[in-house]
């Protein structure tokens, strides 16, 4: 599951500031009677690059989906960029337009071209004029290295290309925080690298990122913090060097031996 990252990482813009981007305190969530997230506490500072890993069903995806309220939490507090997530729809939409999200299955809009996928939210949510939105979209499509695909439909692109479009689509909203929900899990090995490269570039520019991923090479190369979750709680977190060399809990050791052991 782990791809070695060969290139040198430019760390000049990767600075963690004191400013808090996301504050989660005593958050609990249930699916029916199943307790998915148990008393989660977490502070994310601006500029942090956090990798969240853990076995399937450990609640890691649910956790980041709570941050833009794709899932509702039942108790505790989530404050994103100074806005508390409650059932107030205005706050939710405000948070969502500040937080970009990349999904495992890309979730591009198949009835729209790549360019339209990228300009839709800026035009309809941010009220950006169409021409300007298209310029911004082309800028980000160049950045993810597929400007020549702008007028094709998602169905005509490979999985890796689609995922890069999905990243560009999120970036077009100029988000302050990016959430990645297993962005490479649905991709062939050859395509994983191109998506990881895009994510590394984003990290190099100082984006605040939360990534649920099993790409431990990526974690070692760019993360400043790795969080290990199991059974809906944070079991262990540390800076990546220490986390991989010297895991403390037995559960973490077992997990790491399973995913790195072959």
């Amino acid at each position: 599951m782990s791809e070695a990252i060969e290139r040198a990482i430019d760390r000049s813009h990767m600075q963690v500031s004191d400013e808090v981007a996301i504050q989660i305190s005593q958050m609990n969530k249930w699916y029916g009677s199943f307790h998915v997230l148990r008393d989660v506490n977490m502070t994310v500072h601006k500029g942090e690059r956090i990798v969240i890993c853990g076995p399937s069903g450990s609640g890691k995806s649910t956790l980041i989906r709570c941050i833009n309220r794709l899932e509702e939490h039942q108790s505790g507090q989530i404050v994103v960029d100074g806005i508390e997530l409650t059932s107030d729809l205005k706050n939710i939409d405000k948070v969502r337009s500040e937080v970009g999200m990349v999904f495992q299955h890309f979730n591009l809009f198949p009835h729209l071209t790549i360019l339209e996928n990228c300009t839709l939210a800026p035009i309809w949510v941010r009220k950006t004029p169409k021409k300007e939105a298209e310029e911004v979209a082309m800028h980000y499509l160049k950045k993810v290295k597929i400007p020549e695909q702008a007028h094709k439909y998602p169905g005509q692109l490979s999985g890796g290309q689609q995922q890069r479009v999905a990243i560009a689509r999120s970036l077009c909203m100029k988000p302050r925080i990016m959430l990645f929900d297993e962005p490479t899990s649905a991709l062939d090995p050859e395509m994983i690298k191109e998506v990881l490269d895009t994510m590394i570039e984003l990290a190099e520019e100082g984006m605040t990122m939360l990534c649920v991923t099993h790409e431990m090479g990526f974690a070692q190369a760019v993360a400043n913090r790795v969080i290990f979750m199991d059974q809906g709680q944070i079991v262990e977190q540390n800076e990546p060097g220490e986390f991989f060399r010297n895991p403390k809990s037995e559960r973490t050791k077992l997990f790491l031996s399973q995913i790195l052991g072959h």
Binding site: R96, V99, F103, H105, N107, F109, L120, W124, Y153
Partner: protein
């Protein structure tokens, strides 16, 4: 280790193979025939049986069609001509009835000298539909499409132009009210947009249009000769009800489908009970309700046009079916589409309009068009509430004359062909639309 083994196990390809054409006997007409018609004993037998069946059907129909008579004044005359030309006992088609009575099939009892009005309405229908159906048509024409329902009403029923104008004004007032109330939030705005026009139509519109009509007098540009609903019949009636039903039931169906999937209990319950009730009741029941029962509920003295009542019932009926078809389309969309729309910060209505409905409607096109076709054919059921539908109403009226008593096949074939032309056109358009909207490139 043997030599072969040494060659097969470690293997490196040095040249890649280019693609070549398939073998010659794997293509062409002969192959098609062999594969599709004569692939084995059973298929050969079925092919022969099929050809025999087709022969028998054609043997019956073709001579009958060949012995067509186009000019005659009565059915008796028709039969006489056939007997003279092809001998005693020969059967033949008597199209003379269509030749003589076709205006009745098309226009019912609409006054002869006013035939130009439904004809013009029908021609303008295509102008109004063009920008909706085809993307290449200039968008400015949509304004005409918006005005068309009012124009069509005026042309068909006649009377003062102020009646449709005043009715249209209701929508304008609704739009203005929405704009004014929008600053207080979405819910007051929607409420105002719905209430203001209804109040206008209920309490003011009638008097205003009457006064305006009286002031301007009954002269041509502002006044057309009135045609009452009981004069409508034939395809004028079928197309009027069918087109109105189609145009109104699609938006209503979309609203019901969204309502049925809503999280809000009351909206969901209302949508579900409406859909289930309407679908659970035969259309004829609704039509009887429209023609008889509504009169009991309405204040005495109100005249509520029978065609209008039928249109409302047909619309409600089709909308319930369309809602279910669209719900199927909505359910077919992956959850990820909703999540992606949410994650980008689109609110419910924008997400529905820009992301969800375009895809759900595209999936539902075949079902929606089937419903439309079914509904258009069901307009013939209006015969049960005393309207002259083309199939039974007009055909019976034609047969009621002593000249054409006893003629069956020809009127039914004629009416059937016209229905077929409309429905086939709808079906082809839906296939065109599906091809045009195909973006998945699978």
């Amino acid at each position: 280790m043997s030599d072969t083994h040494a060659q097969t196990v470690p293997f490196v390809r040095e040249t890649m193979l280019p693609p070549v054409a398939p073998p010659a006997n794997e293509a062409g007409v002969v192959r098609w025939l062999r594969q599709n018609l004569f692939s084995g004993p059973l298929n050969i037998a079925l092919t022969v049986l099929g050809l025999v069946a087709i022969y028998y059907v054609l043997e019956g129909i073709v001579p009958w069609l060949m012995r067509s008579v186009w000019t005659a004044d009565t059915l008796a005359q028709c039969r006489q001509i056939i007997a003279e030309r092809w001998g005693e006992g020969a059967t033949g088609a008597c199209w003379a009835v269509i030749r003589e009575r076709w205006p009745q099939f098309l226009y019912g009892f609409y006054p002869n000298h006013l035939y130009w009005r439904p004809t013009l309405t029908f021609v303008l229908l295509f102008v109004a539909l063009a920008p909706i159906l085809f993307g290449q048509v200039p968008r400015q024409l949509l304004w005409f499409s918006l005005a068309y329902p009012f124009l069509a009403f005026w042309l068909l029923w006649g009377g003062s132009i102020f009646l449709p104008l005043v009715a249209a004004a209701g929508f304008l007032f609704g739009w203005l009210a929405y704009g004014l109330a929008a600053r207080f939030g979405t819910i007051p705005a929607v409420a105002a947009a719905a209430l203001v026009p209804v109040l206008w139509w209920l309490f003011l519109a009638g008097d205003v249009s009457d006064d305006l009509a009286r002031l301007t007098g009954r002269s041509f540009p502002l006044w057309l000769e009135e045609v009452r609903s009981d004069k409508f019949g034939g395809f004028v009636l079928a197309v009027t009800i069918g087109v109105s039903g189609i145009a109104l039931s699609l938006p209503l169906g979309i609203v019901l489908a969204l309502g049925r999937r809503s999280d809000m209990f009351l909206i969901k319950a209302l949508s579900v009970s409406f859909i289930e009730f309407i679908r659970g009741v035969p259309l004829i029941t609704l039509l009887f309700t429209a023609s008889l029962l509504l009169n009991y509920f309405l204040p005495p003295g109100t005249t509520f046009d029978i065609i209008l009542r039928v249109i409302i019932m047909v619309t409600l009926f089709a909308a319930a079916y369309i809602a279910e078809v669209i719900r199927g389309g909505l359910a077919a969309l992956p959850r990820g589409q909703y999540e992606a729309a949410d994650a980008l910060g689109l609110d419910y209505w924008k997400a529905q309009r820009l992301i969800i409905l375009p895809q759900a409607l595209k999936i539902s096109i075949p079902g929606i068009v089937s419903t439309f076709i079914g509904m258009f054919k069901d307009t013939t059921l209006v015969v049960f509430v005393g309207l002259l539908d083309p199939l039974k109403g007009i055909t019976d009226a034609v047969r009621a004359s002593t000249d054409w008593k006893g003629i069956y096949w020809e009127p039914y074939i004629f009416v059937g062909l016209i229905f077929f032309a409309f429905n086939f056109a709808m079906s082809r358009y839906s296939m065109h639309l599906e091809r045009r909207l195909k973006t998945d490139h699978r």
